[in-house]
Subunit: 345 residues, 4 copies
């Protein structure tokens, strides 16, 4: 009953097999390994983007911060949700990599609305040289509260960005989960809807630690390479990143895993509702925020369930007090795991 | 005959076994995995430093740049060799992580001499607030030309640094190779000789990608954690870094591998001298710089040998022209590989 | 009728006399001029702070950004009002000088309330190494909307900061205006109420371009000197900064000028209210935000009055539409100027 | 007998008159003052560059660091002399403003030779993504040792830069002194010889504190404006910078002053040679490095002469020991001052 995060579970066996296989013999370092050539082609296929520049790094924060730095300037501001990972969970990495950009928190929650985005963009740069200048728009898909933007919602945001000449970044730490939720293609969720650069996550969905950065405009390629090296994110034994990504994409297990984790989340949220829990956000993918009485949390806790208490405190006098939980399903959970979790309600 | 670098060979099977084993089940992310607890203790044992702060990152450049940033200020200058990795091969990562420090290149070659170091330190900061201020001294052990500082040579440098109140960093990308060359302990090569912080390399010596940063003064611990996260170098599935390091240190295979690669380099350099090649630097560890006629390079090349031509051009009219090669032995080379290489002379 | 800003008017004759006098003969550069020695003593007297470290720079943005950088870290966040000058009007200078800090905008308007500040501080750093760490609190006095915090209000904010161990910066671009409004001493408005460092403005109140940075804890002195030089804000012919500040403080003309501009603002706001205008904020010092009908704006505009339309558009169909104006009184305005302005209503 | 620097003397009366005149009445802030419009035109005339972008800042370090930042990238290296002001005397300001560029010190002294420059450029960037990338070339004219590059020497350097596609910056803190030494036009010394951006100094040559940055390619204009504001170098009461520059350029007093200071230096160096002193560098402009016996230094010192002892120590046993002096003539020195100085030999 491990529901703390999708980074607490194991990597998929196929990923590990590729890593092991990559360890045979010798390979050129720093991204010149032959596996990377195949991965580049494969990612281009996945995105139907034959000219895309494709790079690998080991952490999602590196993918986001490097991608944004290629599209912004230090005197600009990045538009994002107030709960975006780039704002809340990266210890100022975007500010570091951009040499001091701001992040403008578009009022609202995890989902930016077109109106709020437009209004934020309008407000910034109304002060000429005095205020921060408008920079990239960053969309998180799946959002930090488990929501998935529809394709039209993405278009609505990128249309606004384009209107102001701003580039669009998509933080896809849970890209696959969103894609299977929308039943769309990778291209449909990105460049066909106006996205310029994607952090294409692997780590949370069955890899050890690998993320692709995909630039649909290859003009950014060389700058990215220099920023990656300067950021100390270019692996010498790069083949171990390539191998993970190759194993991840082979036979579409990346989509199978995402379907699996989304299905577990659906099973879980249905069960929670049935048991009387309250869902704080619509669970579109593999992440659920639900509130239920303290005594059930305590029961789960005693039974060894692992997850974050989102609000409230496990200890307390009132057993009926409602505490919220964040519950994240990764690919490795089974129906039985979920059923066992629900059995404690 | 792969002698291009110690980052082109495979990881040691024991390292891979630990990685595979780590993939079983669940583990807390971001360094809170139980393997890391064991690794921390093990590294402290290795260094006889029970209070040391120990962290893992995936690249040597990250280890160096983060360690130096914790010990320097943006208005300072780092003293290092003109061929130090931090100067030549990190695309300004130390400058990036330190927010704009300088590097003062102590005149000479790969080995800083005490006189040259003292003179460089004296020169800087003679201009009050106008010039850069004196910052950390960074020593590379094994040097970038394959040399190993003796323990007394290290002391001579750290004594000067201490005289001026400057901290000392040791770039130990090939730490194990130096240690077995000196037949000393890790403590003797570091804090007992005045080193404050070490980049303790694993990647080049049989790991996939892991380096420890070891602070003998634990006061720097929290700052390092923040800098690592902000630099996007904190792994969510951190157990895969921990596992590599655990496998690396278990049963001292790290030292066995270093002995192995040093022995191969000794075999190779002896053979090269016997064949009439000229050694450009004394090969103290696992790296050799040798010059020999173009026709032999061409023969090796045709036979599939991989290594960097250090100076000169493989193509050319004069078959007797002397070209230099950099030849690096990693743990996986056998006596037979070396013999085969030499057979082409 | 120049009410656009307190940076559009002339410097006070006494300031200019000091500048002219300073031009006689020779003086050591870079802050070693004898005038600076006197200024340092004088500022210490003004603040009743005999150990304070006192420095001069030429712009308010430099004073703010350098002061904050001495008290923060790149992985921290600065707490300030959403309309603070450091956020809205410095083109990311605080982020630049701090190497990438965030600014946390404490919800509300120009005045931070204790509750909002406490809540913002509580929220940040609740995510361990993942989120930004808590950094300095920056208070603007006079606020950007013309308000003046009472001494107790300042204490309430600094008490919270101290509770969390956070340093407090006061952006005193209009320090004198606030001081005369409160009828208190410089010490009472700063260190006696828990402020650690002050940007003590001269430019807006009758100087050409000079601001003092006053650290009540002199431990920050050397770091400030290095940051100032590295930021290119150390003047070689520093005596021209010193002379301005000496002229500014002599015979307390700085307080006379502030009293003068506050009195003009009081005259103006009383007149505006009498004429039926609506004040958007309580005008505590020398800055007024008032709304009145477009036709009056047009009349003023035609008469050559200079000020910023704060909201709305001078051109428009409805002559009765209410547009807001920002009206700033500097020391050089006379009663007649104000009367003339009001005569157009 | 004040020969310490050209920043210890007074500003020219005409400059001060313009500053005083600028204080009349009101002016728009932040560079929108009408004087700046005239200054822009005047500087364009001086440089015969009708499209040039022209900006003012208050310090030479700001001019240099901002200009270089507009032409470089953080992963690049700037090529300059080992004694360049940007390296030795700006406390890492170029590294700060460029977000972490390196400076490659072209071997030699104050004058870069074409061969040394070419060789340095060739060496950098030979390591692909690993080493720093090639960035701007920065030439100091007058050099830090008082030398003046001939126009052909400038062309030889800029030709090399252009060959590698690198932009060229000219640090003209003593621009006027070089120009009158060469008897050439401002255009001939800059864009006609391949220079892209100039720090056009006023401070050392009779102003209080003002430098122009002149971009011959106006495409950099907006970036400069943002960098200047973000660096806190945009003056609100900008008219006081404009007025200095207007006074400085009017009736070519800037050239008269430079001629005056060069003539005094010629008088002084001739006198020194006659008295048996040894000149360390050819004194092409207004700066002299000369060695002569300690007893003369002591005599001068007792007589109140001010200058920097460049090497050696005023105190010492041997009265005949040779100590070097740096002697800088500013515009305000008279023939009598020099004669008095020489009278102590």
């Amino acid at each position: 009953m491990y529901l703390a995060s999708d980074n607490t579970g194991p990597a998929h066996p196929q990923v590990m097999e590729h890593v092991l296989a990559a360890n045979e013999g010798y390979a050129m370092p720093y991204g010149a390994d032959p596996i990377m050539e195949r991965v580049r082609d494969r990612v281009r296929d996945v995105f139907e983007a034959p000219d895309a520049a494709v790079y690998l790094v080991a952490t999602g924060t590196a993918a986001n911060a490097l991608a944004l730095a290629c599209y912004g300037q230090p005197w600009q501001t990045v538009f994002c949700s107030p709960v975006a990972h780039i704002h809340e969970d990266e210890c100022n990495a975007p500010e570091f990599y951009s040499a001091g950009s701001k992040l403008t928190l578009v009022p609202g929650s995890d989902r930016m609305t077109p109106d709020a985005l437009r209004s934020s963009i309008e407000t910034e740069e109304s002060r000429g040289v005095h205020g921060p200048q408008r920079g990239p728009v960053s969309i998180t898909q799946v959002t930090e509260r488990g929501g998935v933007y529809t394709l039209d919602e993405i278009s609505a945001l990128t249309d606004i960005a384009k209107h102001y000449g701003l580039p669009v970044h998509l933080d896809g730490a849970r890209f696959a989960n969103a894609m299977v939720a929308l039943e769309c293609s990778a291209a449909e969720m990105t460049w066909k809807r106006g996205v310029d650069v994607v952090s294409f996550g692997g780590t949370k969905n069955g890899c050890m630690g690998v993320e692709a950065v995909v630039f649909f405009d290859p003009d950014k390629a060389w700058e990215f390479e220099l920023r990656r090296k300067r950021g100390a994110h270019l692996f010498s034994k790069h083949r171990f990143l390539s191998a993970q990504m190759e194993g991840y994409l082979k036979n579409d297990i990346w989509l199978d895993m995402a379907r699996q984790s989304n299905a577990r989340a659906a099973q879980l949220s249905a069960g929670l509702v049935e048991k009387g829990a309250h869902l704080l956000h619509a669970p579109d993918a593999n992440m659920i925020f639900a509130s239920f009485p303290r005594r059930i949390h305590q029961r789960l806790h005693d039974a060894g369930a692992k997850y974050y208490i989102w609000s409230g405190n496990l200890e307390g006098d009132d057993p009926d007090a409602l505490l919220a939980a964040r519950l994240v399903c990764d690919w490795s959970l089974s129906e039985e795991h979920i059923a066992e979790f629900l059995s404690h309600f």
